[in-house]
């Protein structure tokens, strides 16, 4: 028996290309004759405008200056709609705003020129008259009576709202022995993939075929929308995403600027390239997680959680992001509330409001970091009110595996999870007694140390119903096509996409086991709609859980085909044969023929094949999970922080994470996902904010000197441990891994900082990111 490839910590072969400088990202491609585009963007959060582009057009090197009416000739507008969000208010959008800009950064004109620098010169030469209109930026201001409408003519800035829950929350709170309450504020932040977004579009005259290179997580989705907006047959549109320099959810939406590039290429018949610069990216990439959550939790006399009651005010921006809708984030918040714990009563009121800001959208872990932070803050507060160890309070309330499948009052379903195994594993990983002694000693010496915990549940690998029920064209099923090469190697194409997470290596390991070859003999490609089958791409941590099943199915189907062919050649029953390390063997393991010999016969000497033997060299498997709408993963994070009492700066000294993502395809890659996710969560907790001036609504975080990303010195070593409870409903058993680090880190840091503050006799902080000024105020060292 050969060693399983699934579960092996294997480096990615693709990484060798990347360390050699051989990565091929969007901006590394060029088309002869291409024009360089840049956008004139609204400098105001809300304004009417008139443009005079005559002078700009005459500058040397400028090919064209396009405005909304130019692109309207070739590009239809779009509007975000979902049956899951009935009544959603989100007006139509076109590639360029016409006459009125509704957010700062909205593209209003497009220049095409010989170089980007010349295009930028010409954009400055556009004579624009701006008539500033009243703007709404803070979410709290959006619903105030008399608030200026984000879209004139709308009666309200409430884009969508709902009340979600179950049980009898009023009775639960009336009967509670303890009610804890908190108002938590979450500031917008954004994903900042290091490779910015962009597009390189080529229009083929005559046939009317469009090829668009994008830095995107879902090439097939974009192919569909490009065809729809430009009125092209979908099979005349090709989208290619080669190496993608990070995505994190930023690159899963339809953006005006990317659509404008394709429309301009069609209009002008020339290749058009645009790559976002960083200032544009910070301003015009989707932002995420702007929430004001007021929540309370009811606890009985024995310290058991009875229920939650909350209001979530969510900032959407000027539009609900297309096509998925920004409101998904609020739903994600709600179903994360109380998720690891047993409770019977819940009520969540959601108000998703329009603002004159760029849209918010699905960024790594979506609403889960918010729901987790709210829950874990309330849990800490309740434990403290009861004079109880916070871990003991949690342990009492954690769901047990025997209680699953469990559906909580917010409709969140959990199955087959072992929170208590996570807890025990974490205790061993952290060595709590030693850590607590260290904290005591440090505090005795005057250090402001704090320990924070956060249990996580995150709903991953969304099934077909999640967007399908809303009639939103988002594929949640995926396909792998596996092919035997005549040399005995396996080549495959996957509808899952590679954005740096290493999933093509994970799928290669699954295929290796499914067929019976060494993982080194398998190569998986993805990202080009002309080669890869239609499917969902990279979102919701679905690569292993959904793509892995497609790979397993394709590999097993190919194996069956090859054994049928080999059996006919060898005059043996297929089920008496096996494939091991690329060799067809008999049941005892004796080699009968290699896959290279079999492939060569099938492809080049077909006349030698017995008559009537039909199996081919390729097999396709389309995976659609029929049960379990999402696959919840779970974990525990802990953070040890130290506050500098002079500056209010928080330093994360140590961080721990225990995660269960089901079957681990490749621990080296999963560890990287966990740690990278934690680092983004630490950034969210302490550094990252998209800030707008309270008076003018002007964006204040437009460079990487203003928008603070975690640096190597900001992030400690992150200790990891795995609990591996495979998902029972699938062949491979994987659940999502990519977002769970981000899910729990903000809550753990928030609790750690408050632990340090309370131990020092201070108040608490309730706003993320945790600003040094807020820390100093909580310590009473600043008015």
């Amino acid at each position: 028996m050969t060693a399983s490839a699934i579960g092996r910590a294997m480096p990615r072969p693709e990484a060798r290309r990347l360390v050699a400088g051989g990565g091929r990202y969007l901006d590394d491609h060029a088309e002869r004759g291409e024009l360089q585009a840049c956008f004139l963007r609204s400098p105001l959060p809300h304004a009417r405008f008139a443009l005079d582009v005559a002078a700009a057009k005459t500058l040397p090197g400028v090919e064209a200056v396009l405005t909304a009416s130019d692109l309207a000739a070739v590009c239809r507008p779009w509007r975000t709609e979902s049956r899951s969000f009935p009544g959603l208010v989100s007006p139509r959008q076109a590639p360029l705003a016409e006459g009125r800009a509704t957010w700062q950064g909205e593209p209003v004109a497009m220049v095409l020129a010989a170089t980007r620098a010349i295009a930028e010169d010409a954009a400055e030469a556009i004579l624009a008259e701006w008539e500033e209109l009243p703007a709404v930026t803070a979410p709290e201001a959006a619903l105030v009576p008399g608030a200026p409408p984000v879209h004139p003519g709308s009666e309200t800035n409430r884009a969508w709202g709902a009340t979600i829950g179950g049980g009898d929350p009023d009775a639960a709170f009336a009967a509670a022995a303890l009610v804890v309450e908190e108002r938590l504020v979450f500031t917008r932040h954004t994903g900042v993939p290091l490779e910015p977004r962009g597009a390189l579009a080529t229009w083929e005259p005559g046939t009317g075929a469009l090829t668009v290179r994008l830095s995107h997580q879902m090439p097939h989705q974009m192919r569909l929308h490009l065809a729809e907006q430009l009125g092209l047959p979908v099979n005349r549109v090709r989208v290619i995403c080669s190496d993608v320099g990070g995505g994190f959810g930023i690159k899963m939406h339809v953006y005006q600027d990317e659509m404008a590039v394709a429309a301009a290429a069609r209009l002008l018949g020339r290749p058009v390239r645009w790559v976002s610069d960083r200032m544009e990216a910070l301003l015009a990439d989707i932002h995420a997680r702007e929430h004001v959550v007021t929540a309370r939790m009811a606890v009985d006399a024995e310290g058991r959680i009875l229920g939650f009651d909350l209001h979530d005010l969510q900032g959407l921006g000027a539009y609900s992001v297309y096509p998925r809708s920004s409101t998904v984030e609020a739903i994600s918040v709600v179903r994360s509330i109380g998720a690891p714990y047993r409770f019977a009563h819940g009520r969540a009121r959601v108000d998703s409001v329009l603002q004159n800001k760029v849209a918010t959208g699905q960024y790594r872990a979506v609403g889960a970091p918010v729901g987790c932070a709210v829950t874990e803050r309330l849990v800490d507060k309740a434990a403290r009110a009861r004079g109880e160890d916070p871990l003991a309070f949690r342990a009492r309330n954690l769901l047990r595996t025997a209680e699953m499948p469990w559906v909580n009052p917010f409709g969140a379903a959990q199955h087959g999870m072992d929170h208590h195994a996570v807890l025990e594993t974490a205790k061993a990983l952290i060595d709590l007694p030693a850590l607590q002694a260290e904290i005591e000693a440090g505090r005795a010496a005057g250090r402001l140390l704090g320990l924070g915990l956060a249990f996580t549940v995150e709903y991953t690998a969304s099934g077909p119903a999640v967007y399908g029920a809303g009639h939103v064209a988002v594929a949640a099923t995926d396909t792998v096509v596996a092919t035997l090469e005549p040399t005995g190697e396996i080549s495959a194409q996957a509808s899952i996409t590679e954005i740096g997470q290493g999933i093509t290596q994970g799928l290669a390991q699954v295929l290796a086991d499914a067929v019976g070859v060494a993982p080194e003999a398998v190569r998986v490609g993805a990202g080009d709609t002309q080669a890869a089958p239609h499917g969902g791409g990279a979102w919701a941590s679905r690569g292993a859980a959904i793509g892995g099943e497609a790979a397993w199915g394709a590999g097993r189907a190919l194996r069956a085909q090859l054994l049928e062919a080999a059996g006919a050649l060898l005059q043996a029953a297929p089920d008496s044969l096996d494939i091991r390390e690329g060799v067809v063997t008999d049941a005892a393991g004796a080699a009968r023929m290699t896959l290279a010999e079999l492939g060569t016969l099938m492809l080049f000497r077909g006349h030698e094949m017995p008559k009537g033997v039909t199996p081919g060299l390729s097999a396709t498997f389309h995976y659609r999970r029929e049960q379990d709408v999402t696959l919840a993963n779970n974990g525990l994070q802990a953070a040890l922080v130290e506050i500098d009492g002079e500056t209010g700066l928080v330093r994360v000294l140590r961080h721990w994470m225990v995660g269960d993502c089901g079957r681990v395809l490749n621990p080296l890659l999963v560890d990287g996902q966990y740690r990278g996710g934690v680092a983004q969560g630490i950034g969210e907790a302490l550094l990252e904010a998209c800030r707008y001036d309270a008076e003018s609504g002007q964006f204040l975080s437009g460079t990487l000197a203003d928008y603070l990303l975690p640096m190597a010195t900001d992030i400690p070593d992150i200790a990891l441990a795995h609990v591996e409870v495979p998902y029972a409903g699938s062949a491979v058993g994987a659940k999502g891994a990519g977002e769970s680090g981000t899910c729990g880190a903000p809550a753990a840091i928030l609790n750690a900082v408050n632990d340090a503050l309370l131990a020092a006799g201070g108040g608490v902080v309730t706003e993320l990111p945790i600003h040094p000024v807020a820390v100093l105020r909580a310590l009473g060292r600043l008015a």
Binding site: G246, R278, G672, G676
Partner: protein, 167 residues
């Protein structure tokens, strides 16, 4: 095609060991010139304002931000990019980054490797803290840095034990 009024400068320099000569718009950055004129796309533009470090190149042996140097400033200099970066440190780092998954999307990696090589040339056995300090001008959004630090420490150890073949 550039318009006739775009001011250009002559540049003659050595890039990855070869003499090259050409012209560049006065306002073009060195990293853009390398990428567009010479096709050396291994150095990346992550921010174009000198913060992220994805554009790191070697200029006369020193690691610099390619987005903060104009192409004309490289006239008469020796430029080295990730594609041809030499030395045992780079070779060891490449191996270690792959083995430890010290990269995910790979966009920051060329700059990260050049920056780390500079450290290892100076300090053969850096502590994890020293590695973090030295890399603090290079942003990585994917890894959380831990496995990058693992890779650099492992490359240092391999160089110390003589287990790396020099490039």
């Amino acid at each position: 095609m550039l318009p006739p009024d775009e001011p250009l400068a002559e540049i003659a320099c050595t890039v990855n060991g070869r003499r090259v000569a050409g012209r560049a718009p006065l306002r073009q950055t060195l990293v853009e010139w390398l990428r567009t004129e010479l096709g050396l796309t291994g150095s990346h533009v992550g921010c174009a304002h000198g913060v992220c470090g994805a554009c790191h190149i070697r200029l006369d042996g020193a690691v610099v931000r390619g987005c903060l140097v104009l192409a004309v400033q490289a006239d008469g200099s020796a430029v080295e990019t990730i594609e041809a970066a030499t030395g045992p440190e780079v070779a060891a780092l490449r191996e270690a980054f792959v083995a430890h998954a010290g990269l995910q999307c790979g966009f920051c990696t060329p700059g990260m490797i050049l920056q780390a090589a500079e450290l290892l040339q100076r300090e053969p056995s850096p502590s994890r803290e020293a590695i973090r300090d030295h890399l603090s001008g290079n942003y990585c959004r994917c890894t959380g840095y831990h496995q990058i630090v693992d890779a650099v420490a492992s490359a240092a150890a391999a160089l110390q034990s003589g287990g790396v073949e020099g490039a």
